[in-house]
Amino acid sequence: MKDEIPDEDSTRASAVDSDAHDKHLMVRIAGGDEEALRELIEKHQGAVYGTIAKMLGDPVEAQDLAQLVFVRVYRAAGAYRATAQFKTWMFTIVRNLVFNEHRRRSRATLVPLHPQENESANPGGPVGLDLPDLATKTPGETVLQREMMQKVDEAILALPEQQRLAIVLRRYDEFSYEQIAVILKTSVPATKSLLFRARETLRVALQDYLEINKKEGSDGK
């Protein structure tokens, strides 16, 4: 137990360094340094694009919104005041854009052009391009892995938007409860409650795959 705390502290120290570097990049961007903007985009594009893709389940729309996030960051660089962590501030922009997009979609009923064809053409899931890993896995394992990915993505997409963003930020971006609370404009207990409910919903929705995953894990050992 004692060994874990220095690890946490070192992680926190590196996060503080990273945040200071981001803030320094923002100062340079405000001064018109395009190289700093490139560095900032390259550093955060995976997290921003990945989070939006998980939230929307649409890679094309995710690209557009992720670009818009960086445009907003760039435009606001002159007025940016380092009062909060940069990443938290940037993900507040992500939250606003994603929730606005949800509202826009709920108003306009979007009909896919060829839903059945798309599903059969891309059984790997609603987001990303997944090529089969035939070198290390049998075709059966690959199909199961794809199906599992698809079901996990579908289960995440079925969550209410607040729960969905909370679980994506916590699981994939490893944000703290406090940071998620700031991004979602809620309290830490409310964030914990959101995460608990999201996890319970996912547990029920993915029951079959949880058992397979558990069995695979025990076989692996």
Binding site: E34, G46, F70, R75, A77, A79, G128, S176
Partner: protein, 143 residues
């Protein structure tokens, strides 16, 4: 602390009266099967041209908003100042108008009293005269 007699307050962020240490919670998550399953569906990554396209879009959006922000701030201040000025005028205007009207009303009342007073005195004279003139015929009739 326990013998202080005060009720112990339990908060959702507290752990038996001690502040909750969030640092250990990610490690609890790792043991959760749902958490492990979510790791089987990693986040998609953007393509190799994402940075170039985003930079181009940033360039197309115009320069950094520093000057625009100052102008925007000035516009906001000007608008706020104008609105507050209008509000002040609207609030003060009735008071400015009500000042002279009250004085005028008082003056009118005073004048009315003066007229009434003068009428009262003339009425007294005429009433005595009238009573004198009316008394004569009655006495004549009685006769």
């Amino acid at each position: 602390m326990r013998n202080s007699g005060l009720p112990r307050v339990f908060d959702i962020n507290m752990n038996n009266g001690q502040p909750h240490d969030y640092r250990h919670e990610p490690r609890l998550n790792e043991n959760d099967p749902v958490w492990a399953l979510l790791a089987r569906a990693p986040r998609p990554q953007p393509d190799g041209w994402f940075t170039a396209r985003t930079l181009a879009r940033c360039r197309a959006s115009g320069p950094v908003k520093a000057a625009g922000f100052v102008l925007g701030g000035m516009w906001r201040w000007a608008l706020g100042g104008g609105l507050s000025l209008c509000l002040a005028v609207l609030l003060l205007a009735p008071q400015i108008h009500s000042g002279p009207t009250a004085a005028d009303k008082q003056k009118n009342v005073q004048e009315a009293f003066a007229i009434m007073a003068s009428l009262d005195t003339s009425d007294d004279d005429s009433s005595t005269a009238a009573s004198a003139s009316s008394a004569a015929p009655s006495s004549l009739w009685q006769d």
